[in-house]
Amino acid sequence: MARGRIRARLRRSHLYTFSCLRPSAAEEGPHSIEGPGYSRIVHCNQPLMHNKKPFKYRSNYISTTKYNFVTFLPKALYEQFHRVANLYFLGTAIISVTPLSPFSAVSMIAPLAFVVGLSMAKEALEDWRRFMQDMKVNTRKVKVHKEDGIFGNKTWQKVQVGDVVKVEKDQFFPADLLLLSSSYEDGICYVETMNLDGETNLKVKRALEVTLSLDEDEAFKNFTGTITCEDPNPSLYTFVGNFEYDRQVYALDPSQILLRDSKLRNTTFVYGIAIFAGHDSKVMQNATKSPSKRSRIERKMDYIIYVLFSLLLMISLISSIGFAVKTKFYMPDWWYLQPQHTDDYYNPEKPVLSGVSHLVTALVLYGYLIPISLYVSIEVVKVLQASFINQDIQMYDEETGNPAQARTSNLNEELGQVDTILSDKTGTLTCNQMDFLKCSIAGTAYGVCSSEVELAAAQQMAIDLEDQDAERSTGSRQKGKQQEIELETVVTSRDEKDHKSPIKGFSFEDSRIMKGNWLREPNADVIMLFFRILAICHTAIPELNEETGSYTYEAESPDEGAFLVAAREFGFEFFKRTQSGVFVRERYSVAGQPIDREFKILNMLEFTSKRKRMTVIVRDEDGQILLLCKGADSIIFDRLSKNGRLYEEDTNKHLNEYGEAGLRTLALAYRKLEESEYSAWNNEFQKAKTSIGADRETLLENVAEMMERDLILIGATAVEDKLQKGVPQCIDKLAQAGLKIWVLTGDKMETAINIGYACSLLRQGMKQICITANSSDAKETLSLFVTVQVVKENILMQITNASQMIKLENDPHAAFALIIDGKTLAYALEDDMKQQFLGLAVDCASVICCRVSPKQKALVTRLVKEGTGKTTLAIGDGANDVGMIQEADIGVGISGVEGMQAVMASDFSVAQFRFLERLLVVHGHWCYKRIAQMVCYFFYKNIAFGLTLFYFEAFTGFSGQSVYDDWYMLLFNVVLTSLPVISLGVFEQDVSSEVCLQFPALYQQGPRNLFFDWYRILGWMGNGLYSSLIIFFLNIIIFYDQAFRSGGQTADMAALGTTMFTCIIWALNCQIALTMSHFTWIQHLFIWGSIGTWYLFLFVYGMLSPTISGNAYQILVEALAPAPIYWSATLLVTVACNLPYMAHICFQRCFHPMDHHIIQEIKYYKKDVEDQRMWSRERSKARQKTKIGFTARVDAKIRQLRGKLQRKHTSLEMHSPVTPS
């Protein structure tokens, strides 16, 4: 606490020149608030006032569940019977209790209850999880003013509007708060809004001047006030309100509002008043309802169901009409049916009535065409698939201890069809940790470590070179090997380093300047200046870690932190900041003793995204005034003095190299000032600072600009925005699998571009298309409407120009990158422009959207999803990604980081981005194929079975009699054919997981939908039709009227039905065996076990009392088994059913093999072991043509080198046309 007090005396606002100048209350006056939309009145510190109307606002209890205990049953049931198929099954279940049903009621109701029950149980479980998550949030503790200046802990859900809340460091705000005061004297505080917008920079909030005195618990004893403000709304960046305090009215703006779910940083505590609680808070208003998602295959399955339903309706109608005709015209002659004594159902005098009631019967009877068991099986299969995903040890993250999790299982197969990935940046691609990696001082590059991008590229290059060597003659191989070794040393050196320096934020290594060695470098004075700039030019605060005795830094951005750590490691330890000075302990000085130096801060011109630079003006101990500046290279280079360009060329070269290596760079420069020069400027600056008016900021900037010129360049820094482990490799693989990757980030454009480089989404030589709304132009125009119009036209022009450029591009290797910022995106996403924008974006190899709001992320996702009609996957880690995760076809959340919102909203969660590769390329590929094959087979199986029922009808006068025993039919879907198909859906693997990863191109079978297109579906249906015909008619003819065994007995209905059913079981199970390519003991057990079960069942069923088994009594033992014709019919029908399919697949495999066929063969003949060269060559070829990823980067580099070589060659040849051989 004591430490906090000391720090609190700092008036931080003095450090800030531009954004934190306090507008005096008199300047603006209260907002005129009236009318609808501004009705909220909050009585501060009097929460009890809000217990009655009209101030009864929503409590801080949040609930994101879909159901509660009361509404669960009706709501969930409604959801379930929303599906057409379920409604149909409900209908048949109702019919089944009436005498119209051809089957027993249980056989109809039980499966339906199972399906609906399972789905509802799943819903309930998911909702329960959500509830538990809500409860975790609701029961978080926060300090709330009770009475008489005493604060006590309360759970979040008990916080009421009007409560005074005390939030401490690193806590989340429980509601939207009005900031009253903070531990800093001037009432500012730092807020991390990562959960809201994904921005990593801390934001500064400040309290009103009048409430600054309320900085102690006791001060709230008699505190009252009234806030009048806008109604709850989802806009994160606006707030309009008035605060009435001490009979004065003050205007409130967004900078006093602390939003729920953002976090207090670098500030010991703040006091605030809850204005919006619970679902009224802005972040909750931003939340969208979690939509229920269905996979593409499932949606297509609906169409197939419609087709089958029409078929069902058609054959039902045919048999009803047939029945009516038979009943009317023929049945009066069938005396053995006693037509004169019938009920309505068979009454020849009322053929229409009997026809209609028969229609109902037929709809139930032929219900086998629409397989209810399909839904059961798919649910079961998907749950098992999901459990495989959860169990995958290769997607388990040791560091966070999180396995991958399939949170909704009904999208498994969608993973195999993804076309576009929309990724968040911070926390997803990067760890949000900066590492000081390299620097260039006085034209010399320091730092031997390689960035991850370089390493990855080097590895790839090594592999490629090896391949090329292999193809080349043996003579030159030696050289390649050498190169490889070189590359390997690079790789290993990095590994060693990882062990050596565990300092967070510092991966630098170079003995020339480490450990004070810089003193012996030629430009030691420049180097010292360089380090001083790092140690002085910042806005951070040091904090002593009492345990270790070292300093840690609380910086606004991670870059700054990295600089300070670097400076510390170089021996320039920043350890104290006062109102007016910065203290640096220099360990390695010329004298050899550590010296504490004080630098007086005269002015600080801080970083804004517009200025892209930061400057401090300091007076050192010798009284020398120095201007130290760091900023974007282009900005700095523009402001160099003539004699300050000594190192420009070298530095520029290094900057390019760093940029290529995916590092973020800043250039450092300084300027010595004369006392008089400074004081003249300072007067002007102070004048500008105190000026009143809207253009004050512009004025200040202009004055600052005057000073920041004639700089002398010292060098540049390169910081690695640490990518998460394996991100570049993963992106490369995903790109090779043909996926497009878009980055949507809340961060600045420069940061985003840097990351683009780091993950190889961008590379040198790629044409960057930056689309920006030039707002400065717009400001000059007066009318708002005209402004919008002009800006939009401008953007549209940029878009069309860019599209034109891409169209006219001839070079097949040319790649384009689209970079767009949030403001521009807002226009580009409007209805009249979004098609053009999408068209352009699709043509570009990579797309980066920066400074986008959560809402825009969702809108972009929707645009891609609806505009291209392809499957999108959104991946993110923060609350700001929730919208996008929910909007995309598949939402993936990164688990393991603090906030769980993204994971809660996601369909799948993985611990790290790199697991996405396995999730998509292995599990997605498998699941897609499994489900596709399974569904196709299911339709085949049910058509093959269902139609035999129909054919038989034609032979029974359409009376609705089934040839099979009720029990056979019941068991057909439940026992006899379900397990093999489930094993197909769960265990089938066309190729092993390694091969999936090695041949990313195989993934394209999913997005191309090769296994579930109409051609294939109709093929399977045709196969089903063929099988039904073969099964039925072969059996009918074989068992027509003659004796079927040597005992002279003729076949009755039971014998015929049982034989036919045996044929069906054999044919269907052999069919699935032909479909499969991967047999573990489980598949063998299920397939052959199903056939065995059938005989076993028949045997046992025949043993039961004849009252149960009826005509099937002892049918196998007595009648069928001794009859050779029974067995020979089974063999004949089974072979005849499968013959066309078998011929088809043989023909296809032999003459139009698909990729996985060839790979299966290679594996089968172990060619990959024998001819490893071929194998690795194919592996490197097996990728989609892609322009992103480091492989593409390496390719581009190789192309470039080759081009050079060729040019050299030709010029050589020109010189010496005759070469002796």
Partner: protein
Amino acid sequence: MDTNGATTSSAAGGGSTSTSDSSLLSKKNSKKPQYSRFTQQELPACKPILTPGLVITTFTIIGIIFIPIGLVSLSASEHVVEIVDRYDEGCVPPNYSNDKLAYIQSSRTNKSCTRTLSVPKLMKSPVFIYYELDNFYQNHRRYVKSRSDKQLRSKAYERETKNCDPQAVSLDAPIVPCGLIAWSLFNDTYGFFVKSKMLEVNKKNIAWDSDKEHKFGSDVYPKNFQTGGLIGGAKLNSTTPLSEQEDLIVWMRTAALPTFRKLYGRIEEDLQANEQITVVIQNHYNTYSFGGKKKLVLSTTSWIGGKNDFIGIAYITVGGLCLFLAVNFILLYVIKPRALGDPSYLSWNRSPAGNPN
């Protein structure tokens, strides 16, 4: 690796810090999936692929197996001798030929009818006698359901006539056996004479043993049968238990198709070739109203049952088709061979533009 260390250290029960560390570690790793070949989907599997050799062998083997089976079946069918005689038209006296229904329904007409059959080939005993009905929907749902298995089985369930309407009760007493099937029992009879010598017709053991023993009770006697206003088919001897009424038992096994044969009896004598058999038919059963044919069939059997050329032909066809396919595949491989696992067939090698598949 880590987990191992953690467990050993906690098992050793070392210092407080180490245990807390290890418990932290194990807590962290508690979510780690357990490795097993099953959960990692790495179970050993056989992955057969259709190599040309396998394809050709399979088709050839099928062909080689199927054609002999077909030939054997055909020859078995050839050995079966079958005499079919349609008598429904011929047994109606010419003066009733325009009103057959009146003839069959009248109780005063003479229903006797004599037919002569000639034996084409030697028929070894047993010679099975069938009657064949046509256009008779024994498989009609109303008909199939119209029976009571319980009642047939045991005397105790005499009143179980739930599905038997309209042949369930007669004057409030249950009909045994109830239902339309029993009511419409076939009632033509045949007498066979060779050279005026009567051939013995064995009507025993024409039904399934299980039916006789378990489904038709030996204590169930026909009751109130065919006593109602409408007379259907045959009457039953009310002193014989149902288990011995084999004609009924055979009849109650409903046929699957509207054309069906049912076993009538056996002649346990060889019938010589070119013998003339005189059949005296009592033509009672009414098929005239629905235009159904009635046939008398005498047939021997072989191991495939009665005369059935189809199965043999089907086998030969399928076998031939397989051989044809095998030959085709051989030819195709010769003309357009493809080395298995040849990477040049991979999509990325086939289309240089990079358009897989």
